[in-house]
């Protein structure tokens, strides 16, 4: 199975937000969409699950254009995890069970209850199962949203900034969880990320967007200083950290300050003046 996004176009009125974006994702693969604010990342994700209906283009899963499917059939194929969602006075179990909506005819059956219980257990949410959403932490709530999309049993798994409101430990815990779910269920996964280094740790490939256009797509080797400059408009240095590239932005005042003090010219100046070094 493979997901293929072909020439997707979307505009808000006259403003073109997605300008012919195309890419392919293999099953069990995680793709991160990167780009500056307003580059069209979230619009691309929402177009992929028909929250925004794209004006042109195709999204093909298993040879079938899923945009031509009914809302319900589309929901059986594509699971979406929003960046934030309200916490109502509903238990974790019931809230995850909502993910079965596209499959449920009238009542939640034995299988629906079983899969929800299994996913809750596997994501380590068992102790919260009967707690209300408005009583749990932000990190736990994010896990509930992910669990809800997993029980939907989609072929395509779409996540909008899954770690945006989490601390560093919860960021990695959540990303581990997503990675394991994706690999074990062989879902084609597309997510938007702000943190490029976190994306490098957990993604197989990267799609860089600028002004609604895909300007680079590929493995970690596509990421270089020139691309970072083009996408984010900042200078950076890419260093190798135990075989994993680490993008270090070079425009902070601290770097300027430190580089002024330790600049080689400073040393030469000292030598020229005959001062001891």
């Amino acid at each position: 199975m493979m997901l293929s996004v072909e020439d997707l176009r979307f505009s808000y009125g006259d403003h073109l937000v997605l300008d012919g974006v195309s890419f392919k994702v293999n099953e069990g693969e995680v793709i991160s969409i990167l780009g500056s604010n307003g580059a069209g990342k979230t619009t691309l994700l929402k177009s992929m699950c028909n929250i925004h209906r794209p004006q042109e283009g195709k999204i093909v899963v298993d040879g079938k254009d899923i945009l031509s499917l009914s809302r319900n059939d589309l929901a059986k194929n594509v699971g979406f995890v929003p960046q934030t969602a309200p916490a109502s006075r509903m238990t974790v179990f019931d809230s995850v069970l909502i993910g079965r909506r596209p499959h449920i005819e009238l009542n939640a059956g034995e299988y629906d209850i079983n899969i929800v219980a299994e996913v809750i257990d596997s994501l380590g949410l068992s102790h919260l199962s009967l707690r209300y959403l408005d009583e749990i932490s932000g990190g736990e709530l994010q896990k509930v949203h992910i669990a809800r999309a997993i029980v939907q049993e989609p072929k395509v798994f779409i996540l909008d900034e899954p770690t945006s409101s989490l601390d560093i430990s919860n960021q990695h815990m959540t990303m581990h969880m997503i990675e394991d779910a994706v690999r074990s269920r062989n879902m084609c996964t597309v997510m938007t990320m702000h943190d490029i280094n976190l994306a490098i740790h957990y993604s197989d490939r990267f799609l860089f967007l600028a002004n609604g256009k895909a300007i680079a797509y590929g493995g970690v080797d596509v990421i270089d200083e020139a691309l970072i400059k083009e996408v984010y408009g900042i200078d950076s240095e890419i260093i190798d950290h135990r075989g994993i590239p680490l993008v270090v932005p070079m425009n902070s005042k601290k770097y300027n300050h430190r580089s002024n003090h330790h600049h080689p010219h400073d040393i030469h100046d000292h030598l020229d003046q005959g001062m001891p070094t």
């Binding site: 929402k46 699950c49 028909n50 929250i51 009914s70 809302r71 319900n72 059939d73 589309l74 929901a75 059986k76 594509v78 699971g79 979406f80 929003p82 969602a85 309200p86 109502s88 006075r89 509903m90 238990t91 179990f93 019931d94 809230s95 909502i98 993910g99 909506r101 596209p102 449920i104 009238l106 034995e110 299988y111 209850i113 079983n114 899969i115 929800v116 219980a117 299994e118 996913v119 809750i120 257990d121 596997s122 994501l123 380590g124 068992s126 199962s129 009967l130 209300y132 949203h145 809800r148 999309a149 997993i150 939907q152 581990h176 969880m177 394991d180 779910a181 074990s184 269920r185």
Partner: protein
């Protein structure tokens, strides 16, 4: 490493009964038990209420008149006065509770209800218009005048028309504003005051008997209930509750936010529009028969949500039962707690106002 491989085994029927599942099933039973006990409580207060009144009747008398009605005064008291009022409280309370819980769910607004969104007042204006000017009602009496609705269809249609106008206004406000709960309730306040002004103007230009009749009619009261007009609310309530029952998963999905609901295949504009129209119709029918009964659509659902959480599979029937209980209790208090018989509309507003403030306080504590 998180193991998700056992999920696929569930599909093959090799199901490991987890503790999580067992606990959930127990919890679900508790909610069902809550619904059953509420229903029993409603039955108990109905039985208690039917014996109260100036005509002293024993339970034996009541049962015999219920089973074998005759032309006696006692039989008339049971069949034409007490029963229609009790059934009226149950049906109208259920309708308002249901309209309230659906509005709260599809607007994602805990403060929404037919009364707080101004729909009750709009319907009241429409109904008054129908009674006074569209030959929907008959003014009876001279000194103590009251309006008798002799054409419930005209009055209900007129009430519905204005309830829909108010609803469309709310929908437009949601489209063009930040649609925060407070904004929508403020819009509801504006709607209430606009239709309040229209109603006041209508009273200002009407003759004395009509004014007296329409003012009396406006106080939400169960004394106006007849079997005839109750049938309309009842039929509508059955149809609406069936429709809402089929849509309960959509409403649950909407509780998780619009993007989640869309991602789960819910057609939000359609679900919202149809839900609001049916709620407006329920409200309009109740208002045109009983007058304005405020806050039932707020009080009923909130009690249920506090007790069993916010899952529409249970809050929909729960709010219907609780709406009926609250209205029947209000009728009981209004009719028998004081020397003077006080219309239920006044009692429910007296209970609902403070509750509304409490909800506001809880949501906006410093």
């Amino acid at each position: 490493m998180i193991d998700l491989t056992n999920i696929s085994s569930a599909s093959k029927g090799h199901i490991k009964i987890t503790e999580t599942k067992e606990e959930y099933l127990k919890y679900r039973w508790k909610k069902i038990l809550f619904l059953i006990s509420s229903l029993i409580f409603l039955l108990i207060i109905s039985i208690y209420t039917i014996r109260l009144g100036a005509t002293g009747l024993s339970y034996g008398d009541i049962i015999s008149y219920l089973l074998f009605p005759d032309n006696s005064w006692n039989s008339t008291v049971v069949w034409s006065l007490r029963m229609p009022r009790i059934i009226g409280a149950i049906v109208a309370g259920s309708a308002l509770g249901l309209a309230g819980v659906v509005m709260q769910s599809i607007l994602r607004n805990p403060l929404a209800s037919p009364f707080t969104l101004g729909i009750s007042n709009a319907a009241a204006f429409g109904a008054s218009l129908g009674i006074l000017y569209l030959n929907g009602g008959l003014m009876i009496g001279s000194l103590e005048a009251y309006a008798q609705i002799n054409n419930p269809i005209i009055v209900t249609l007129s009430a519905f028309l204005f309830a829909i106008i108010a609803t469309m206004f709310i929908v437009a406000m949601m489209k063009y504003t930040d649609s925060r709960p407070e904004t929508i309730v403020l819009a509801g306040l504006a709607i209430s005051s606009i239709f309040g002004a229209c109603l006041a103007f209508m009273q200002y230009i009407a003759d004395d008997i009509s004014i007296s009749a329409i003012v009396y009619w406006q106080f939400g009261s169960l004394a106006k209930v007849t079997w005839n007009n109750l049938t309309i609310v009842f039929i509508l309530l059955i149809v609406a509750s069936l429709y809402f029952f089929f849509k309960r998963w959509d409403y649950n999905a909407m509780e998780a936010g619009e993007d989640v609901a869309r991602g789960l295949g819910v057609n939000i504009p359609k679900t919202r529009m149809v839900g609001l129209i049916i709620s407006a119709l329920l409200t309009a029918t109740v208002v045109s028969i009983l007058g304005i009964i405020g806050f039932i659509g707020l009080v009923g659902p909130h009690i249920v949500k506090r007790l069993i959480g916010n899952d529409n599979r249970y809050t929909l029937p729960g709010s219907m039962i609780m709406g009926a209980i609250v209205l029947l209790l209000a009728y009981l208090v209004g009719s028998y707690a004081f020397e003077l018989v006080i219309p239920v509309g006044i009692i429910t507003s007296a209970i609902g106002g403070p509750l509304f403030l409490l909800i506001l306080l809880r949501g906006h504590k410093k």
